[in-house]
Amino acid sequence: MVETDSLEIFAKEMEKVQDALPKKIEANPENAEKGLAKLVLTLIELIRKLMEKQAMRRVEAGSLTDEEIERVGETLMKLENKMKELKEIFGLKDEELNLNLGPLGDLM
């Protein structure tokens, strides 16, 4: 039994949830390189996001000097740009590098 006034809106939103979460690495002989790149880049993206979040927490707590902020910022910016390049090379979109982290939610 399903009760709602807005079934279509919910169906559309649930479709978005499904689309946002690729469930497996599509690796086969034809696209092995891309499949592997997707797996590796997803892991790198996870680490990059964690680093970024940790940096934000430190900025929020006021525990970084101006110099440190500049240095961390430059590092994170370079990492982000490098990721953009790699995604372009392998033809991957942001949403393809998502991961369901269980109780922690989704990576992106």
């Binding site: 399903v2 939103e13 649930m14 934000m56 902020i69 500049e70 961390v72 910022g73 994170l76 939610g105």
Partner: protein
Amino acid sequence: MKIYTYAIIDSNSGMDEPIRGLGEASVYNIPYHDIGIVVSDLDPQVQIKTKESILKHEEVVERLMDRFTVLPMRLYTVFSGKEEMLLKVKDYYEDFIENLDRVRNKAEFGIKVIWTGNIIKERISNAYKNESPAHLTQSGTKFMKEKFEKYKIDKEFEEEADRCSAIVDGFFNRLASEKKLEKLKTDNLLLSASYLVDKEKKDDFKKAFEELRSSGGDLKYLLSGPWPPYNFIILSHSGDGKVGGMDISDKAFQHKDMEGNEGRGE
């Protein structure tokens, strides 16, 4: 012949009414001590990864639920034969007994709530716009300021979602013995919750939903259930108790593309 499994039930007796499963095969109960594994033989010609099969699986489990305490199996759990399946059941027997006791006389209900997340996020973003760090020349610092602004917007958005979700949860919390809440699966899907509810309180739960729905505001609500307790099965080793029922078979055909919809018919 391979066998397709639907659920574990708290009975080792045969089915007292005919039920048809995948490929219209007869559904029967294989006893193991005081419990049973409800299965049907799987004709190799039958396609199991189809919409019809999902609906049939759910239909069988729901019929069982009317008469037994049920632990639904994950979709597409197939064993090469009775012996292989019983070996697995032996491994998980204690878990099954514990879970059957926990979910006895209970059913799962789902609540989903949509809010105007995009608009709320835009409102929060606009409040930060005047603080834009256009004057900064050092690139690393500018990058950090922009990221920090986004971090604060996301944080405020999540806090707002926490507040609204807590209000919604307040309508159902007292009626449930267990719950699982997932917030912001998308910006607009504020809450996706599952509640394990005593069958006696099922009408109170529906009444609480009506109260919530009539409380006004821009939010949109969806109630689904009663379902078998797909989200509330806990297996102590391996397995998972994830959405979609139990996965006890490492040889089972697993199909991940449908996760989130598995057997829920939502």
